[in-house]
């Protein structure tokens, strides 16, 4: 047989194998979590906070963790967004023009991106100690902000970079300033991609356990202020799986299901928003 045809079929088999690995593992993960989690996911579970202590308490649900996680991730994502948009636009050529500062910024972001989140956690913990503060919602939000900035900025920068030079030239040629061009043309064209960046960062933030372990703490209650400690879903999984009591372990699977659902909702919303706002995009 022709060697090229053999090559072709070998390559094809390899591709199918890797595809099945990806899709297969996704299905297995979702399947196992749902299989263990769905039976225990009662209404009480998502409408009641934990009772009898989060470590050994068998009563109540995980509302404290759900609300805590949303507070943390929404807060962190909002702060990270404000900062990232600025950096991402600054990194465009028109503003930073290939300066040292720009490449230093990129390098720092890449290093931050690669930093393990437990390191953020440890850092945050030390800062809190220095300031004589306890683990709190605010501490968790700040650490998540730091964690999300590099992800969001780099994602946004990549999309902004793909905005065609001609579009900017048109805007400038009509007498627009850099800022007007950035806001009215570049941001519009890049909007769906930027939203994707925000949601990827949100997903990373809501799922991270290590960084908030020491900074946000854990509690049975829903935090009443920024300075209260707060529970979170990833830590709920972490603590509850570690208990010797099967009833509490079950709660861990319920937490995992909720986390999974939130992530799914985010991914799907991303797609939908992307579709809706691509109407005017120039290709």
């Amino acid at each position: 047989m022709d060697i090229r045809i053999i090559e072709e079929s070998v390559f094809k088999t390899l591709m199918i194998l890797s595809l099945t690995t990806v899709i297969g593992s996704l299905l297995v993960v979702i399947g196992v979590i749902l299989w263990r989690g769905l039976p225990v996911l009662t209404l009480d579970m998502i409408t009641k906070t934990a009772e009898g202590g989060y470590y050994l308490g068998t009563g109540g649900g995980i509302l404290n963790a759900i609300v805590g996680s949303l507070y943390l991730a929404v807060g962190g994502t909002a702060l990270a967004f404000i900062i990232s948009v600025g950096i991402a636009f600054y990194l465009q050529n028109e503003y930073s023009g290939g300066t040292r500062l720009a490449s230093m910024t990129r390098l720092s972001l890449d290093i931050l991106w690669g930093t393990p989140s437990i390191v953020y956690g440890a850092f945050g913990f030390m800062v809190l100690m220095q300031l004589n503060m306890r683990a709190s919602l605010l501490g968790g939000i700040i650490v998540l902000t730091l964690l999300e900035i590099p992800i969001m900025t780099r994602a946004m920068e990549e999309v902004i970079k793909t905005v065609p030079q001609e579009l900017k030239e048109v805007s400038y040629s009509l007498g627009a300033t850099r800022l007007e061009t950035s806001i009215k043309v570049v941001a519009k064209q890049a909007f769906p991609g930027m939203i994707t960046g925000v949601l990827i960062a949100f997903g990373r933030g809501i799922g991270d356990a290590a960084s908030i372990l020491f900074t946000a703490g854990y509690t049975d209650r829903i935090p009443g202020s920024l300075f209260d400690a707060t529970a979170s879903l990833p830590l709920a999984v972490f603590f509850q799986l570690g208990t010797p009591l099967p009833q509490v372990q079950q709660k861990a699977y319920a937490s995992a299901v909720i986390l999974l659902i939130i992530i799914l909702i985010i991914s799907i919303t991303t797609r939908l928003i992307g579709k809706k706002y691509t109407k005017y995009i120039i290709r």
């Binding site: 050529n93 001609e166 040629s173 009509l174 007498g175 627009a176 120039i282």
Partner: protein
């Protein structure tokens, strides 16, 4: 001759060391159509980009000399660049609508220059879309994306968008090269109609288009100004031999062909490989003529040769099936 609108004095442009414009001095007359002609890579677009200082956006580009518009030096530090650009509409080679609706595309310029009132904007949009003959076609779908229009309509929209900032000058860089013949004709008619109110500078590869439109002609070659003058004189009786040659489409007959190869019947990438081998046997500045009949080769061979740093002098169809590609070794 009528008044000068754009006065270019001893102008030079460098792209990180490579000089793209050499000592250009020319006056562009008011309310006339000036055509900039010349072979590919001679600096036509560069000159245009300098006139509205879009060249500022190019990394590593530097300019020296002066360009005066209405007597005002546009490269002067004190000059407000947005004011300069507001005076000029730009029509690019590829229609480039902004990522917004048809209405917003036209309203974009007036909005950033301070027109806020809806009724005023409506009037502006209608006025300029009518002026470019697009109003009837789009008045029922002003809110739909501009990118949904046909290419020809998009180019007219771009013209309307440029006119809406009420410029005095319209700069066009091969505005019809991406369009079908009918749309091209449409644009040409618009330009002829507009010239009583606007100074128009058009870069074109198409010598016939230049003849149809231009009152004044500027001929560039390898960054140098070869000749400029009234269209009637330049086209009928060019002073420079190089201009005559360019107009006759026989620009390089005086350049001896040092080697000729026939690559008919070859497909890519063999075309390219053989052409490269042939070039290898030549000295620097020697000229090679290749004949090909494989459609992809017509674009790919010149592109590859340019990437290798050689000078593609001409790509021209010589009969039904064959093309000639003339390359100067660098």
């Amino acid at each position: 001759m009528s008044d000068t609108h754009i006065n270019i004095q001893d102008f030079n442009t460098y792209y990180s060391g490579h000089q793209a414009l050499k000592n250009i001095s020319v006056d562009i007359p008011k309310n006339q159509i000036t055509a900039i002609i010349g072979p590919s890579g001679c600096g036509k677009s560069t000159l245009l980009k300098c006139m509205n200082r879009l060249i500022d956006l190019t990394d590593g580009a530097t300019c020296s000399g002066k360009i005066l518009i209405d007597g005002e030096d546009i490269f002067d530090k004190k000059t407000d660049i947005t004011d300069i650009r507001k005076k000029m509409g730009l029509l690019a080679q590829k229609p480039t609508p902004l990522p917004m609706s048809i209405y917003e595309n036209v309203a974009y310029g007036p909005r950033i220059h301070g027109t806020r009132k809806k009724s005023k904007l409506d009037a502006v949009v209608e006025k300029y879309l009518t002026m470019v003959g697009l109003w009837e076609e789009v008045k029922d779908r002003l809110d739909s994306p501009a990118s949904k229009l046909s290419i020809g309509q998009q180019q007219r929209l771009c013209l309307a968008r440029g006119l809406a900032v009420e410029p005095e000058i319209i700069l066009c860089d091969e505005p019809t090269s991406a369009l079908d013949p009918l749309s091209s004709q449409h644009i040409e008619e618009q330009l002829l109609r507009l010239k009583k109110d606007y100074t128009i500078v058009i870069v074109t590869h198409n010598i016939h288009q230049a003849m149809r439109l231009a009152d004044y002609v500027v001929h560039l070659y390898l960054g140098e100004l070869v000749e400029h003058g009234l269209a009637s004189e330049v086209f009928e009786n060019p002073k420079e031999e190089r201009t005559r040659a360019y107009i006759d489409g026989t620009f390089f007959t005086d350049l001896a062909i040092d080697k000729e190869i026939n690559l008919k019947g070859n497909v890519c990438p063999y075309n390219f490989v053989y052409a490269k081998q042939a070039l290898h046997t030549l000295e620097k500045d020697d000229v090679l003529r290749i004949i090909v009949d494989y459609p992809t080769a017509v674009t790919e061979v010149p592109r590859g040769m340019e990437t290798d740093g050689h000078n593609v002098i001409r790509v021209k169809q010589i009969n039904e099936s064959d093309w000639e590609i003339i390359i100067q070794k660098k």
